[in-house]
Amino acid sequence: MNLLDYFLSKRKKSAVVAKERLQIILARERVDRSGPDYLPALKREILEVVAKYVSIDVEQVQVHLQREGNCEILELNISLPEPPPASTNQPMGHSAAN
């Protein structure tokens, strides 16, 4: 790879960056909008409860609301961290995040 290639490939045009960022944020905001009004609050409260017992990363949580016929499926996907090797049993009242 010569020097010219290096500069041409490395620099992503800012318009491309703008489009990629917008694709992500618009998709997320459209999901928030399409769900019922209580969905953001429901999501937040469930996470608060889970966080009382396990240390979770809020960014690692996916919420999906699917409609199949007249039945709605709320899917919450929370990635739990690897348990530390020494203490596999964490005390119940352990509050790791808020």
Binding site: K13, A15, K19, Q23, R30, R33
Partner: protein
């Protein structure tokens, strides 16, 4: 029975008032009796852009609160006989725009006009919500820029959920994307979202592209809607928008950078 058009965007400064002034003028020039209403209560601006600021006596809120008759508040445009401006109030706040009051004024206008253009304020508060609530069609004014695109998407969500048509379950508001302040040169350099990018992101039909141009500022400086500047690309682009809105098919123009020849480049004209 008039068609109600809202000119909206969410974000401020993208060209809503410029568009309202030019689209309403374009419709009136083609013979349609048109009213244009400033919904930006507290910050009146449409009158200035249309050059009738010194003729404002009564305003939209006066009519809503029965302090003036509609025909007393409507200002006849100095260029087009069948164009009327209903200015916003400067002294009240946006809460003065009640759904009942706005509905009543629009009903009264509907009987005697062909088109009613509602110039929305920025934001998503009462003034903006009332400007779009009764609409049949919407112009979504968008700059090729991240915050404008995001806010336009937000406004589309509101049109689809909180307008009268959405609430009553009738045919949805017809949406038209209008991209303004477009700079083909910067798009070519990869510094600005392209028309296709904006269309892909928002996913609504395009009605026109207004190129970035100093004529728009000259027009507002002099209080003459830019569509009257029929030698300028922006004026011509607005004329295309109105023609397309009325069903004519016109190709998009001003999408390529202007190529200056050697001599013009040398003399910087």
């Amino acid at each position: 029975m008039a068609t109600i058009i809202v000119v909206t965007s969410g974000k401020g400064g993208v060209g809503k008032t410029t568009t309202s002034a030019s689209v309403s003028t374009g419709l009136a020039k083609r013979g349609f009796k048109t009213a244009v209403i400033d919904f930006d209560v507290g910050l009146r601006n449409l009158d200035l852009v249309m050059g009738c600021e010194r003729r404002v006596v009564y305003d939209f809120v006066n009519v809503i609160q029965n302090e003036a008759l509609l025909k007393q508040a409507l200002i006849r445009d100095k260029h087009c006989d069948n164009l009327f401006i209903l200015p916003a109030s400067q002294t009240r706040d946006k809460e003065a725009l009640s759904k009942e009051g706005v509905g009543r004024v629009l009903d009264e206008l509907r009987d005697s006009f062909d088109y009613i253009v509602c110039d929305s304020p920025a934001g998503i508060e009462q003034g903006a919500l009332m400007a779009l609530y009764f609409a049949d069609e919407a112009f979504i004014v968008t700059n090729p820029e991240v915050s404008s695109v995001r806010d336009s998407d937000r406004i589309l969500g509101i049109l689809q959920a909180r307008s009268k048509r959405a609430e009553t379950g009738s045919t949805p508001i017809k949406e038209h994307l209008l991209v303004t302040r477009y700079s083909p040169r910067r798009v070519e350099a990869g510094e600005m979202l392209s028309l296709k990018d904006v269309q892909d992101l928002l996913g609504i039909p395009l009605i026109g592209v207004i190129p970035e141009s100093e004529v728009v500022l000259q027009a507002s400086n002099s209080g003459v809607p830019v569509i009257h500047f029929d030698q300028s690309p922006s004026g011509q682009a607005y004329d295309d928008v109105v023609a397309r809105f009325l069903g004519e098919s016109r190709p998009m123009r001003f999408l390529e950078p202007e190529r200056k020849n050697f001599l013009r480049r040398l003399f910087g004209t």
